[in-house]
């Protein structure tokens, strides 16, 4: 019991001693990702047959992905590794070049899909592969939920 209090006290000190974290940028990258989620969710409904195919919605989602892919690489400064309930893993900063390359590929795949998708059939063929970019990055760089 006493020992755990000491440990807790030591932890509290070390947290306080850590560099102040940039909570705004954490908030911003989470919001950017939330927008990706909303955009992906809208198209998933069409894939499942819970909503009718709508080209305008699909294009809007793809444009959301493209702008997120451009914005995201700048949202992981060194002072944003902890705090603000971030689920970004330390691996992001250990291999930032790979993370950036993944965002670039994600943006490129969305751009290609935007050009390729004209109707429901091309939507069903060209959209789902993008989800591999999402899952592949979350697999390596994002912690599971608490």
């Amino acid at each position: 019991m006493i020992r755990s209090i000491i440990v807790a006290a030591a932890l509290a000190v070390s947290v306080q001693a850590a560099v102040p974290q940039n909570l705004d940028v954490i908030k911003e990258r989470k919001q950017t990702m939330k927008d990706n989620g909303a955009a992906a969710g809208a198209t998933a409904k069409m894939l499942k047959g819970d909503a009718p195919f709508d080209l305008a919605t699909v294009q809007k989602s793809l444009n959301t992905f493209i702008s997120a892919s451009k914005k995201m690489p700048s949202l992981f400064p060194d002072d944003s590794k902890t705090g603000g309930d971030t689920r970004a893993l330390p691996a992001v900063w250990a291999d930032k070049a790979d993370v950036d390359a993944r965002f670039a590929k994600f943006g490129q795949d969305a751009t290609d899909a935007l050009a390729a998708i004209k109707d429901e059939a091309s939507f069903k063929a060209s959209f789902p592969p993008i989800f591999k970019d999402c899952g592949g990055c979350h697999e390596k760089y994002r912690a599971a939920q608490n």
Binding site: R3, I5, G37, A38, L47, K48, E139, A143
Partner: protein, 314 residues
């Protein structure tokens, strides 16, 4: 002299107990090698591929750090509280893989956790779930595995602490946690539900990650599928029972979509160990993903397992 005879009796008792223990922990294989030939006939590689994907063999056995999921050279390290396991080579290489194995050998490994040289496997190889797999599926799987490229080089040894490095001890563990019962079809339920149960409880070994474990590393029965700690890193593995705190709000279509694209109903894309599971389930026929969804929605609803208290009492 009374003391001496007591000691003798005690020694004799200890010897009997040790013998009993030795017999109890003896690795018992379900299939004898004498009958091996009858199991070699009629395997189908295309069906075996589905067994392979449903069983997620590539997730553990594919050589890490290269993109080919069918290169089964092993080498992946699995961390556990007992030490680190190194996944073996199961490519059809005659010396370094399982090229010399018969269907019965694979059946004994998957269904009873016993090797061809009659030693116990560790349950890091999820035979606690694979024990439910049908022998015909093992035969098809073996037929498929034999079509793959042999990979040379043995994977390394496990790095386990005492007493976990003694394989014989696993015999006791198996007595406690392995019942060896196949799943009996439930005629009151749909064919799809029965298929789903087989995929979830047997091949898919979903409970191995989605449940908390006791100190012996076995799944806690009344918390099965209710979520648990993430052994591989931060965060927790979610509850997949149809409770409000789990998949309650999800439709069967939502679950089938997750198993196809990794997308949750709110548009999030699952990561962590589940991303790899989805690489397998995405290769299944759509009817199998629907079967998994139907079965999950029929599980007894359980509230999400509370996080374990750590190091209290100091």
């Amino acid at each position: 002299m009374p003391v001496r005879s007591t000691l003798l009796v005690l020694a004799a008792l200890a010897a009997v107990a040790a013998c009993a223990l030795w017999q109890l922990t003896e690795p018992r294989a379900a299939f004898s090698r004498d009958q091996w030939q009858s199991y070699e006939q009629g395997g189908d590689a295309a069906r075996g591929r589905i067994v392979f994907e449903a069983g997620g063999c590539a997730s553990c056995h594919a050589t890490p750090g290269q993109p080919d999921r069918l290169k089964l050279g092993g080498g992946l390290q699995l961390k556990s509280p007992f030490g680190s396991f190194t996944v073996p080579n199961i490519s059809p290489h005659p010396d370094d893989g399982i090229g010399a194995w018969k269907v019965v050998d694979l059946a004994n490994a998957m269904l009873t956790g016993v090797s061809p040289s009659r030693t116990h496997y560790y349950p890091a190889f999820p035979y606690t779930s694979f024990q439910r797999v049908k022998i015909e599926d093992v035969r098809d799987l073996m037929t498929f595995l034999r079509t793959l490229a042999p990979v040379s080089g043995k994977a390394g040894d496990h790095d386990l602490s005492f007493p976990f490095n003694i394989r014989r001890g696993l015999g006791l563990w198996k007595l406690l946690f392995l019942d060896g019962k196949p799943l009996k079809a439930d005629p009151a339920k749909t064919l799809q539900w029965n298929r789903g149960r087989y995929l979830v409880e047997g091949l898919g070994h979903c409970a191995e990650c989605h449940s908390p474990r006791n100190i012996l590393g076995a799944v806690v029965a009344d918390r099965r599928f209710a979520g648990g700690p993430n052994l591989e890193g931060k965060g927790r593995v979610p509850n997949i029972t149809p409770d409000a705190s789990g998949l309650g709000p999800w439709s069967q279509k939502d679950i089938a979509e997750l198993l196809t694209s990794g997308l949750t109903p709110d548009g999030d894309s699952v990561g962590g160990a589940m991303a790899e599971v989805i690489r397998n389930t995405a290769e299944l026929p759509p009817s199998d993903r629907e079967a998994i969804a139907e079965y999950l929605k029929s599980l007894p609803p359980r509230q999400t397992s509370p996080p374990e208290k750590k190091g209290s009492g100091g």
